[in-house]
Amino acid sequence: MSVKKLKDQVCVVGIGWTPFGELFLQSYEDLVAEAAHAAMRDAGVSQRQIDAAWLGTAFPDAGVYKGRAGMDLAEPLGLFDIPVTRVSNYCATAAETVRGAVNSLLAGESNVALALGVEKLRDRSPQDSIVKMMVEMGHPFYQKGFTAAGTFAMYASRHFEKYGVTREDLARISVKNHAHACLNPKAHYRREITLEQALGSPMVADPLTLMDSCPTTDGAAAVILVRTEDAKNFSGIPVYLKGLGLSVSTGWDLPFFDESYDLLSFEAAKVAARKAYQEADIDEPAQQIDLAEVHDCFSIVELLTYEDLGFCKPGNAKDLVGSGATRRDGHIPVNVSGGLLSCGHPVGATGIRMVCEVCEHLRGSAGDRQIPEARIGLTHNIGGPGAVAAVTVLGKEKS
């Protein structure tokens, strides 16, 4: 039996996300409530109408063990007596909540589904959250010594060696995304930086500097999804889900312990994109996609993602950055929101925050940072490091 194509069968009718940042005065529960209520308001649904929900939190252990199960979404909302499922798939966690909701809608299990991602990292100091996790909780010797930055730095070193990528190429991505974020009131950092500042910032894991790395950030984001045939019953302007691909293509350790991996690209992203493109009838991504929110947890990841998503040929990403094509005014704007580098990366929320961003542009409600006449947008997440990826394609109109 052939697999059913997703195309246009499900749409987003409500979006909501909290400002991202160091939200010292807000708890995990506060963030859940703020994002969920915003999305419900936007969709024009009452909580009683929601009949299934997904909660995405990648690292409950970084905080107070909130987000280990669906109950941590249900309780702060009083959203009881329906199925609520917590999912986790590293940085594709948020995309996984969307996938769960979509499949439930398509299977007829639910009619109005809530997908919500939240991460509360700043109850600890930045060095204590994800860095400390790798120090204290990792395998006693496999990859012992790595932080997340280090694992991606290995890919950067290969790009330097193989394609002549330079620190300037990486810094340009950071400069671009910081400039974009100045127009995004919900971004963690809203400050332009110069190329010199980026290059001169402290080294984290060479060749990656502090400015090549996303900050440690709190935040939540939510979407309300319904079947397209029901969209008319809701007040939110619908945005259509045209394609969704999620792939696990290696493990946490394998690329670092098996010489068949070239550390130049993420197979998972290529596979996820292929599936999403196929569903969405995308043949020439660079031409057909009007904006993309990609997973720039580190600048190198945005760079090599250009190649994984087919925006350019392998080895040409540095030229694409240099040409300015991925700036807000370029022909394929990437991370108009400011990306993870400036918005921050509350892991479980990021993928949904991207969906919200793309929806704003497709609805024409993105304010100062609006990409004119945006019709097709893409979101991309990669995680674990590079093992799992998710790509969604969203459209303004039904085809």
Binding site: E136, M137, Q143, K144, F146, F160, L254, D258
Partner: protein
Amino acid sequence: MSSDCGIHGWGFAIPRRRLSNQAVQEAWNRPGFPGSRAVTGPDEDSLTLGMQAALQVIADTDESKIEGLIFASTTSVFAEKSCAVLLGTALGLTNQTRCIDVGGSLRAGSIALETACDLVTGGSCRSVLVIAADQRFSQPGSPDEFLFGHAGVALLVGRKEGATAQILAHCQHASSQFDTWRTIDSRFPRASDQRFARQGAYAQPMQDVLTRILKTTGWQISDVDKIVPYSPDVKSASRLLKKNGFDLKRQYCDLASPQLGLTGAAHLLVMLCAAIEKSARGERILALGYGDGASACALQMDADCESSFFKMALKQGYDIPYNRFLALHDLLASDDVSDGGFTSEIMEERNKPLWLSLAAKRCRSCGAVIALPLPGCPHCQEPTELQEFFLSRTGTVFSVTHEHYYPTPEPPLGMATVNLDGGGRLTLQVADENKPLQVGDRVELVWRRLHKAGCRPNYFWKCRALAKLEK
């Protein structure tokens, strides 16, 4: 190995102070089991215990025949200086006496006994004085606090003629596992997960030496009159014996543990000598030692035993309060030297081939070399057979970074992905990094300490720049 020697005399040094388990239970308000432990006073240590036990043996021996002295302890007073030589000098042995210190293992006592047998059987020494003494402390409040006692024991091993007990055969099994250990800079022994340790580190080697010693002696289980096994807890030995069909009531002989606690390297020999004192001519005794493997020793009584040193020593005990015991030995300071977060002896045991011997796996079908403990080849869709593949210790840096935020004594911490000569890839910390490693650099693997999680050194491979010969 069969032997031509026997035990001619023995002596005990049981500290007179006793700490009752009940006193400890009351202090920590938790359940335990009855019994007490012999504990040293403020002026006793493994050397004084050894001396005391040895003097008891020497008292009725012609010491000119003693041509060897072996001192066994895990708590030797000196890290540098021989206790065996010191004891030999003190006992008036000649300076031609072969003096050997054995340490580093709970099995040191039985290793000393076996070595003495070999020295006598091989004709190197007419007789050898074996001394074992230990003074191990446990962390106050820890679950193993009820376990450790202190004692010394000495045995005179000589030719079989005229011996009280003949040593017929002995064998050993060496295997390394992190079941229990004490690092050089800590006071308290640490132990891994108990059930894991009992299974792999205890049950397997003990079974192996038991099976082998029975084969060598030709004894049936029922031929054994007294079985004297070291048991790291109340149950392990009886479980092993039951499984092998021993009659616990008739054969299991442990006169020491409930009254003394486990006395470390001395314990098996204390139990053995106590058993000898209860045996009559012709009786067969099997002693099973444990620690970094196991050992077995088969003995047969050649005379009725008339002495009762052990019974006498037990009678001299008096209780001291728990707080005095803690104060006498300054036991309240923690010796926790842990760093590096999570570790697991269980996980390490499974990964032993790679972390000790660089044994990876190679897929018979596609040839991929995988340096991870995977059950199958991740590249073949079908289950395939993996064969052992030993990685080489040289290679080329494929990618490299330096972690500036990872806690390390000499930041930044180099991390390198290394493609090894002959196949395979590892990602490792960089050692001895004087000049930053770069992609393409040649490296060699070195076995180094990664961290001290779990209060013990955790070792793994690192890489460093390959030394080049200048032309």
